[in-house]
Structures are given as structure tokens and as C-alpha cells.
């Protein structure tokens, strides 16, 4: 018991920060991220002995994602992004402003859409794994991602990016 407790403590210490970063990418809120990770670690603790050591982190991440998409009401730290401004990005020096805009748009997305983007582009998971995590079909993942990008492209600078991409694609063909 003592060894397993120490082992779980080690896991929390070693992987806790990464789990918090993941939860923060999902929630965009430090307080909620801490709640989410803490809840997941407490739940996972009950089953830590049943889950292979190498799979414990993915198990905890699964709990985090599932809890995040199924939360209805949860206290917030009040860290709410403001309205999305109409920024005009002129060159690469405005990258920070551009990222800030993306972050704000992410906050507007429904949770499942944001979860898909985070799992795809932050975690780098293929759609099949994202689908497994979210308990839905691959096609649903693609649909959720597509709907999220529709929201992103509503903003003029991102719409331009999409056009440029379409032009590049045409030239390549």
C-alpha cells in the first residue's frame, strides 16, 4: 500500500504539470483546469492499481476530457476572455496578437469542438483516437473540427489565411 501510494504520488508530481497544461488548453481557465485535474486524479486513484503503469496518464487524460465535455455547471475563477476584437494583422510581428485572437475564439467554441481541436493540434492525436476519447464516431470528430474552423474563419484575418491556403492548394495541383 505504501509503495503504491508513493508511486501514485510520484505520478502526480511528475505528470501533474503536463496534465494541468492539457486541462488549461481545454478550459482556458486556471481554476477550472486545477479542478479538472484534481478531480481526475482523485477518481483515477481509486483504480490506479488496476490500470497498467504505462496507461495511467492516458487514463487520467481520458477522465479529464470526459469530465470537461460533460460539465454543465462548475464554478469558475472568473477568468473569462473578453470579446473578440477585430484585429488587423499586417505581418509576422503581430503573431502574438494573432495568437491572442485564436485563444479568444477558442473560448467561444462549444466544449466538444474545443476538445477536438486541443486533442488534434495540442496533443497531436489522430481522429480515431480523438473519437475513442470522446466516445463518438470518427466522422463526428471531423464534423466538430470543421464547425470549429468555420467559427475561426469568420474573423477576417483567418479568412484570408484560408483563401491563401486554397490558392496554394490550387497552385500545387
Amino acid at each position: 500500500m505504501g509503495d503504491s501510494a508513493a508511486s501514485y504520488d510520484d505520478f502526480v508530481v511528475m505528470r501533474g504539470p503536463a496534465l494541468l497544461r492539457f486541462a488549461y488548453a481545454l478550459t482556458g481557465d486556471k481554476g477550472l483546469a486545477e479542478d479538472l485535474v484534481q478531480d481526475a486524479l482523485v477518481k483515477a486513484h481509486r483504480h490506479a492499481g488496476e490500470v497498467a503503469v504505462g496507461r495511467l496518464e492516458s487514463y487520467v487524460r481520458r477522465i479529464i476530457v470526459n469530465s470537461y465535455v460533460s460539465w454543465r455547471r462548475r464554478r469558475s475563477s472568473g477568468e473569462i476572455p473578453g470579446p473578440v476584437p477585430d484585429l488587423v494583422v499586417t505581418d509576422e510581428t503581430d503573431m502574438l496578437a494573432q495568437r491572442d485572437l485564436v485563444w479568444r475564439v477558442l473560448a467561444e467554441l462549444p466544449r466538444r469542438q474545443r476538445a477536438v481541436l486541443v486533442l488534434r493540434y495540442y496533443e497531436g492525436l489522430p481522429d480515431a483516437e480523438v473519437a475513442t476519447l470522446l466516445g463518438c464516431a470518427d466522422g463526428t470528430v471531423r464534423s466538430l473540427a470543421a464547425r470549429a474552423f468555420v467559427v475561426l474563419r469568420r474573423h477576417p484575418q483567418f479568412a484570408d489565411m484560408a483563401k491563401q491556403q486554397a490558392l496554394q492548394d490550387r497552385e500545387i495541383r
Binding site: R21, V69, R72, R73, Y121, G135, M161, A162
Partner: protein, 343 residues
């Protein structure tokens, strides 16, 4: 990866620096897991052998809650008040977070703050719930979702219990749950507390759910598939739109069913129906996000061919959505249970 996708990835990675550092994480987790280890759990079947039950045809309908249901999602702004003048002490429901792992509800609880005139315990098993008083017990069913949705009903009564034929209103009026430390709060549709459940300490070893991926013993349920699992092709079914009488879209196979199968969702959060030969009933609750949970009460057991398992459909659904005007019930695997049309 196109430019927009790359920007998205860069943004998420860049924001890592703003994430919490986790310095308090180990201490907080240690404190909570220590409390968890000290929680007592009953042995499954602890009370079943001593229970004398009589199956009744219709589910018990509480004497409260006949007004039109307000979606749970709207409750956060509702004024809160305690449900009774009991001496039980408990936190302000508004101060606790609704929802959690339904598996944590499984166990034996002492009922307080619920106008019970004698000691009452409530035992949640994976697939049923038992109310125990000195005069006897009542059995029923319950379901809950991680987001906090809760529904319970009784399907039996004990003849020696005064008023034992009636399901307690503090249980049937509850449509959400919350954890406050080791205690469970049952909350009504207006956010007020209907009962405070205190854990009954036993010497029984902890009975953990053996499956890491199971959050609640309801058939086909697993974490993360509630509510938001309504496919994008369906419009989440709001509680108001569920009200009414529904019949299976597909005709029943040729058989000897006496009546046309149906389910009728009523505004007092009960449902009645028929599988074609047997009357069925239960309770239901839903949210605007498309979450739907139902219980099935007692029923007659007339055997005839061509039955449609109406009660099972409702009792295994976790979500509901509309495909145009067709109501689609979905189970915990995200699969369609049945398609229904308004009668």
C-alpha cells in the same frame, strides 16, 4: 497542416506558460484521496434478503413537482433555499458544484433534511436503490450523469409502512446531485435541497467499481457520453419538446400486441407507456442540451408477441435528439435506441 492549423497549434503550445504550475496539486489530491479511503461502503445485497416487496403496476408519483419542468441548465440563476426546515445542517447548494462521478453515489447513506419522521437510510446499488425504514423497505431505480442529472423512482412498497405506498417526495423531486465533501446533496429542479445524504460508516471494505471506465451501473452508460453526445446531425431535444405521446416510427412486427406501443412524457417528470400488452411507467428528466435519463418502475408481466420494450428504451437512454420531427433516443454507446414519432 495548413497555416491556420499551425497557428492554432502554436497558440495552444504558447499558452502552456500560463497554465497552473501544480505546486498545490499533490497536497490537494492526497487530502482528497485520504478522505476517500476512509469512506465506508456497504456490501452489495446488504438489505435485499430482508426486503419484502410488492410490485405495483404504476410508478409512484410524488405529491410535488406537478408544475412544468424548468430545464436544469437554467437553475444556476435560480434562487436557492433549503427544501425543509429540518435541523440537518448542510451547505448552501449554490456553494457546491453540481455533478461528479455517479459511481461515488453508490453506497449507503443516512437521509437527513428530508422531513422523514424516522431514521431512514438510502442505499444506492449500481442498478437499483433501496429506502430502508424500521417498518420495511422500498425498492426502486435511479440514474445519474456526470454532469449532475439525477432521477429516481420506486417500484415497490412495504405494506407495514405507514405511507409506504408513496415514493418519498425528497427522492422523486430530486433531479440533480452534488457532492459536498463526503456528503451528497439531492437538489430539486429549482436548485433547492431535497435531502442531505450522510455516508453511513461500515466496517466493510471499500467496494470500488472494478472497471476503470464505468462511472455508473446503468445499462450502457460510461463517462463522457451524456448530453453532448447528441450527434451533430440531430437537434438536442429540450424537455419541453419531449412532452407528449410518442410511438415507434417503425411498425411493430406482426404479433398479438393488444395496444399500440407508446411512451408519454408528462410535465410532472413521470412517463407512462405500454409495450403493447403491459402498462409501464417511470420518471424522466432532461436538459436543453439533450441529456435524457429515465427510470422504469413496476409493470404487469403479460406475455404476448410483438412487444416493444418501451421501458427499456427510456431506462437506457442517456440523450435524445430530433431528426426533423422524429425523436431519436440514444444509449450510452451513442447508438440509436429507437426512433419515435409524435402520436
Amino acid at each position: 497542416m495548413n497555416e491556420l492549423e499551425q497557428l492554432l497549434r502554436d497558440t495552444l503550445v504558447a499558452r502552456e506558460q500560463d497554465a497552473p504550475d501544480g505546486r498545490r496539486l499533490l497536497g490537494d489530491v492526497r487530502a482528497r484521496t485520504t478522505r476517500q479511503q476512509h469512506r465506508g461502503w456497504p456490501a452489495v445485497g446488504l438489505v435485499a434478503a430482508a426486503t419484502v416487496t410488492v410490485i405495483v403496476v404504476a410508478v409512484q408519483v410524488p405529491g410535488v413537482g406537478d408544475e412544468t419542468r424548468r430545464p436544469l441548465a437554467a437553475q444556476s440563476s435560480a434562487p436557492t433555499s433549503t427544501a425543509s426546515s429540518s435541523t440537518a445542517t448542510g451547505p448552501d447548494p449554490a456553494a457546491v458544484s453540481v455533478g461528479g462521478d455517479p459511481a461515488d453515489i453508490i453506497g449507503e447513506w443516512r437521509v437527513t433534511g428530508a422531513n422523514e419522521t424516522e431514521p431512514t437510510t438510502l442505499t444506492f446499488h449500481e442498478d437499483r436503490v433501496t429506502i430502508q425504514r424500521s417498518c420495511g423497505s422500498q425498492d426502486g431505480s435511479w440514474r445519474a450523469s456526470p454532469s449532475g442529472l439525477f432521477v429516481a423512482s420506486t417500484a415497490s412498497w412495504h405494506p407495514e409502512c405507514e405511507g409506504g405506498e408513496t415514493a418519498p417526495s425528497w427522492l422523486t423531486a430530486a433531479d440533480s446531485f452534488a457532492f459536498d465533501g463526503r456528503n451528497v446533496l439531492l437538489l430539486g429542479r429549482d436548485g433547492s435541497r431535497t435531502a442531505l445524504l450522510l455516508p453511513v460508516e461500515t466496517e466493510t471494505a471499500a467496494l470500488d467499481d472494478p472497471s476503470p471506465t464505468t462511472s455508473h451501473g446503468g445499462e450502457g452508460t460510461k463517462p463522457g457520453i451524456f448530453g453532448d453526445s447528441v450527434p451533430v446531425t440531430l437537434e438536442p431535444a429540450s424537455p419541453e419538446r419531449l412532452i407528449g405521446r410518442w410511438v415507434p416510427l417503425e411498425d411493430a412486427p406482426p404479433g398479438q400486441a393488444l395496444n399500440r406501443p407508446f411512451v408519454q412524457f408528462m410535465t410532472n417528470n413521470t412517463w407512462t407507456g405500454s409495450d403493447g400488452c403491459n402498462s409501464q411507467a417511470g420518471r424522466w428528466t432532461a436538459t436543453d442540451a439533450g441529456e435524457l435519463l429515465g427510470t422504469q418502475g413496476g409493470q404487469t408481466l403479460i406475455a404476448c408477441e410483438g412487444l416493444r420494450p418501451i421501458g427499456q428504451w427510456v431506462a437506457t437512454a442517456v440523450a435524445a435528439g430530433f431528426d426533423d420531427e422524429v425523436l431519436v433516443l440514444l444509449n450510452g454507446d451513442g447508438r440509436e435506441v429507437v426512433r419515435l414519432q409524435r402520436a
